[in-house]
């Protein structure tokens, strides 16, 4: 995925679209001791500066579907696996809810489903993309900030957009070496992030 932070307004339409698509329980119905979960969240970075000269941007964080996924390495039962096309998925049947993956993920992308007693996370809407449709967050986005596509195809729209982004291309927590499949276009006015 490619997420353009200049377009994102932090409106959270992606979060609710994801909940609808994946049937995720709202926090309000979550069992006691659980906080419910999302597959995607939107961080608010800022405000920096003093009123009225402020800067702020919004950072949607789905699962990064890392090529070098720490969650996979941490999972003791090999419940977490990577598909040929790059998707990192949790096999619910093999999950023992040991919660090692939660701590291993630098993006805090994994949650516990206390009802089912397993770890769960973003699947990049596997069931949709296997039918040549877009992930729900991408379709829903109210600012056209998200692009989904085949990074292995150099001529795909997403690949061209990432190349064109040039030095505006940004990888979240690049220093962790996870090699994510989610890229960002840096927010133009922010002073906060470093490559």
């Amino acid at each position: 995925m490619l997420i353009d932070l200049n377009r994102c307004t932090g409106c959270k339409a992606c979060i609710v679209a994801c909940k609808q698509e994946n049937d995720l329980p709202p926090r309000l119905d979550a069992p006691p001791g659980s906080k419910g979960f999302s597959y995607i969240r939107v961080d608010v970075v800022g405000p920096e500066g003093e009123y009225p000269d402020l800067s702020q941007y919004y950072l949607p964080v789905p699962c990064m579907h890392c090529a070098n996924a720490p969650c996979m390495k941490a999972c003791p039962t090999a419940a977490i696996y990577r598909r040929d096309d790059g998707l990192v998925l949790i096999n619910a049947a093999e999950c023992t809810r040991c919660e090692e993956c939660l701590g291993a993920c630098p993006y805090e992308a994994i949650s516990i489903d206390a009802g089912e007693d397993i770890a769960r996370k973003c699947t990049l809407c596997e069931h949709l993309i296997d039918r040549d449709q877009q992930p729900a967050c991408v379709s829903a986005c109210n600012a056209g900030a998200m692009t989904f596509g085949n990074l292995a195809d150099g001529e795909a729209g997403i690949s061209r957009a990432i190349r064109e982004a040039g030095d505006k291309r940004y990888i979240f927590k690049r220093e962790m070496g996870t090699d994510p499949s989610v890229y960002y276009i840096r927010f133009g006015k922010a002073t906060l992030e470093k490559e």
């Binding site: 307004t9 339409a13 119905d29 402020l54 379709s139 829903a140």
Partner: protein
């Protein structure tokens, strides 16, 4: 706040989700006034998913959080499933189920009784935003069957009755949604001004999830100016941000006019040719000079200009729309004109009068009043005027203070003189020729009975929206002054939450009335006071068409059968019209028939329309040049003079200020310094930023939405909060002279240290009936609709009040973990 344990217990939803064989139907959403076209997935008659339609011209495939949560809304356990009659005293919260037959029979009988005994005017109707009702000729029922002029709502603090009069007196009663002046061409503008508007959180109200259209245009280099005391989501994208002091937008607008006029950045051709800028105003009476002033028997519909070449007065004839061919009229200067009584009176062109007004608003003076630097004022005014076409999105903020008319007028002047009215990329007038919006008229003698509160623009002869002045009607219902109200038809309205100062007259009125009918989708604190409640269906269960969104006509179709025994308002009105002896006023048998009837002159059927759910309005701009604004088809505007009236003769006729003049907020450091000692903060209420993700009082019971905003928020700067020992997440009281309410504090640098922002429309569906916590976090307890109001529209002061803030002992009982003793 993410990840905290919390104590909001909503009734659990039970929605079955299957992903097997499903049919996909196209429809338009009406959860707000957006106009997003969606694809509804339906399996076995059940709605299982909604997604955006990529072909939707407004949403371009996107869907907002409300649309994605709509499956929870449609199948919400909070929905009313069958008609109810109260069992016990009114307001006890005890109900018994009855049949539709009984409900309608009782309602018709009681309304007819009350109408016969006390007159139709003793029946008031309260209307909310509806899901959907714009489609319906419901005024046929209110006007033609009930014969009541007393329709109430929040029009006087909303676009509808604040902008409509300003548009009406300036450009005249233009047809279609343009009458409210809400429309703008985000796609093709070179500069967009978000003036007192959050754009993102308020994407409803004819915006159609416009995020994508806005983002696309910004990516192409469109300039964005954001005028807002708070640094909002859209402010993060702005090229220029003007942190205006609440309640002083009028000064800012006058200062923009100062820069634009003095630097000659306006469209001189348009101003000279199409506006009444050259008309002379007499300085003795401060009125427009008319031919009837110049000699006995002169025509009052002929206005006078000064012919610069021949140095004589000349007349513009409003009947023939002529008289100034080959005349170069003066826009500035002052001229001595001899009147019929032989006195010479100094007269100035309207444009000169405007220049005189704005001469006091150079940016340096404006900086002191508005808190926006003079440099920024100049830079932003020039940016707007020079990057044509440009559009101003005027948010509801300016329409929620006692200078509503003047502020909106000044902003409309900016749009007009810069040549941005009804041009591609500007503030456009969409219109669908032929589209029918019927309504039976009110019997003329009932006009006299309208409870207007004395405001000129509660009178439909001046404002196209036929309703009375809401605060005055509640007072009548509670006190009998000017005459008693006996019954209420509550139509998807929630006045105990949305109407001002509801603990003064609204509640006592609801206790007193002889009969109350309510139609609604869920129980609310307001309809808990009804005698009969009728369950309404949602937009996804109805067939409808609407021309009030951007770009054209939209259609929605019923993708599922109504849930439970709920019905559309269409059915309710039809049944009542037929039971109350007026079947001719509601001849259509189904909603589809009504839709076909409305569309017929356009040349399409409902069946045709729902293929795409959209019929585009013709793109014909500068309609004033083409004779498309006036009913007689001649070029010009449908105003008294035929010109765009910068100087509003209709305001002059009503004895009101015809041009915008500044005054401070009635509660302010300048005007009420004593009050400011006890109430040191400036309060803004009702910002859509804090109403997010709801739509006014709706959807607080939808779990996926409630978890985004669990409790009623208020914003306070951390420096100010520190001084009051208030921490992030603390519950606090906000108090004005009028009253107080409590909110959960969010400390943020995004707001000025002297400003407080508090949400509106908050109630607690999960708290016990009948109150549902209606007066716990209700910002309307803090305002005064009987105090300082706009002289034309009766608009209440909702923004720019003085308040104080202090820590609360905790939340209301039953909220956020507070169990009480």
């Amino acid at each position: 706040m993410e990840g905290e344990q919390f104590e909001v217990k909503l009734r659990p939803n039970d929605m079955a989700h299957n992903k097997g064989d499903e049919k996909v139907l196209r429809t338009t959403c009406f959860l707000c006034h957006g106009g997003c076209i969606l694809l509804a997935h339906v399996k076995d008659g059940k709605l299982i998913k909604l997604e955006g339609d990529p072909e939707g011209p407004l949403n371009l495939g996107s869907i907002c959080e409300k649309g994605s949560a709509a499956v929870q809304y449609v199948y919400s356990p909070y929905r009313l499933k069958y008609p109810l009659k109260r069992a016990g005293e009114r307001g006890e919260g005890r109900w018994e189920r009855i049949s539709w037959e009984e409900a309608l029979d009782t309602t018709a009988k009681k309304l007819m009784e009350i109408k016969d005994k006390y007159g139709g005017e003793s029946i008031a109707y309260a209307w909310g935003t509806h899901r959907v009702v714009h489609s319906y000729p419901r005024f046929s029922f209110y006007n033609g069957v009930l014969n009541t002029p007393n329709g109430i709502g929040i029009g006087h603090i909303c676009l509808s009755k604040t902008r409509m009069p300003v548009m009406n007196v300036t450009v005249g009663p233009v047809p279609g949604a343009a009458a409210i002046g809400i429309l703008r061409d985000f796609d093709r503008a070179n500069c967009i001004v978000a003036w007192g508007d959050t754009l993102i959180e308020s994407r409803n109200d004819a915006m159609g999830g416009m995020g994508k259209r806005l983002a696309n245009n910004l990516a192409k280099g469109c300039k964005l100016i954001v005028i807002d005391p708070v640094f909002t989501r859209i402010a993060t994208k702005a090229h220029l941000r003007l942190p205006v002091r609440p309640g002083t937008d009028l000064a800012l607008a006058l200062s923009w006019l100062n820069v634009i006029i003095n630097e000659n950045l306006y469209d001189r051709d348009f101003v000279e040719k199409w506006t009444n800028a050259p008309f002379l105003v007499r300085s003795d009476k401060k009125k427009l000079l008319r031919e009837s002033d110049l000699f006995t028997g002169g025509d009052p519909h002929k206005y006078i200009v000064w012919d610069k070449d021949r140095r004589v007065p000349r007349a513009w004839d409003s009947h023939s729309l002529a008289g100034l061919e080959n005349v170069d009229p003066a826009l500035t200067g002052s001229y001595g004109i001899v009147l019929a009584d032989a006195r010479e009176v100094e007269c100035r062109p309207v444009w000169q009068v405007i220049k005189d007004i704005i001469s006091e608003w150079d940016p340096v003076k404006a900086e002191i009043v508005t808190w926006v630097s003079a440099d920024k004022i100049r830079e932003s005014a020039r940016m707007y005027a020079k990057h044509r076409p440009a559009c101003i999105e005027w948010g509801v903020s300016m329409s929620q203070c006692s200078r509503s008319t003047a502020t909106n007028q000044a902003i409309l002047h900016l749009k007009a003189i810069t040549g941005n009215l009804d041009v591609e990329g500007g503030n456009i007038f969409w219109h669908i020729p032929g589209y029918r919006m019927p309504a039976a008229p009110l019997p003329p003698e009932k006009e006299e009975k309208r409870i207007t509160g004395g405001y000129a623009f509660s009178d439909p002869r001046r404002s196209p929206l036929p309703s009375a002045h809401q605060p005055a009607v509640w007072r009548a219902a509670a006190t009998g002054d000017p005459y008693p109200i006996r019954a209420l038809y509550g139509e998807s309205s929630n006045p105990l939450v949305t109407h001002e100062k509801p603990d003064r007259f609204v509640l006592s009125a609801l206790k007193k009335l002889d009969f109350i009918l309510w139609t609604d989708i869920t129980m609310t604190p307001s309809n808990e006071w009804a005698d009969i409640i009728l369950p309404l269906s949602t937009p996804f269960e109805r067939d409808w068409v609407h021309d009030g969104f951007d770009k054209g006509i939209f259609a929605g179709q019923a993708v599922i059968e109504p849930v439970g025994e709920s019905k559309s308002d269409f059915d309710v009105f039809r049944e009542l019209c037929h039971r109350m002896g007026c079947p001719d006023l509601w001849p259509w048998k189904t909603e589809r028939e009504l839709c076909d009837w409305k569309l017929e002159p356009v040349g399409i059927t409902f069946e045709d329309l729902i293929e795409t759910c959209f019929y585009p309005a013709p793109e014909v701009w500068q309609k004033h040049e083409k004779g498309l604004l006036r009913p007689d088809g001649r070029p010009g505007y449908p105003t008294a003079s035929g010109k765009l009236e910068l100087y509003a003769s209709k305001l002059e006729d009503a004895g009101l200020e015809p041009l915008p003049k500044f005054s401070y907020p009635p509660e302010s450091y300048e005007l009420t310094p004593q009050l400011a000692r006890e109430f040191p903060f400036i309060l803004i209420t009702g910002s859509r930023e804090l109403n997010f993700p709801y739509f006014h009082t709706q959807y607080h019971y939808v779990p996926w939405l409630r978890e985004i905003q669990l409790f009623p928020p208020m914003l306070i700067n951390p420096d100010s909060a520190g001084g009051l020992a208030i921490g992030d997440g603390d519950w606090v009281w906000i108090e004005t002279r009028q009253g107080k309410a409590r909110f959960k504090a969010q400390l943020t640098k995004r707001i000025h240290p002297k400003v407080i922002s508090a949400c509106h429309a908050w109630w607690y569906p999960e708290l016990p009936a009948p109150e549902h916590g209606v007066f716990e976090s209700n910002i309307n307890l803090l305002v005064d609709p009987y105090g300082a109001t706009d002289p034309a529209t009766g608009t209440t002061e909702l923004r720019g009040l003085l308040c104080k803030v202090y820590k609360a002992e905790g939340p209301p009982i039953g909220v956020d973990g507070h169990k009480g003793d």
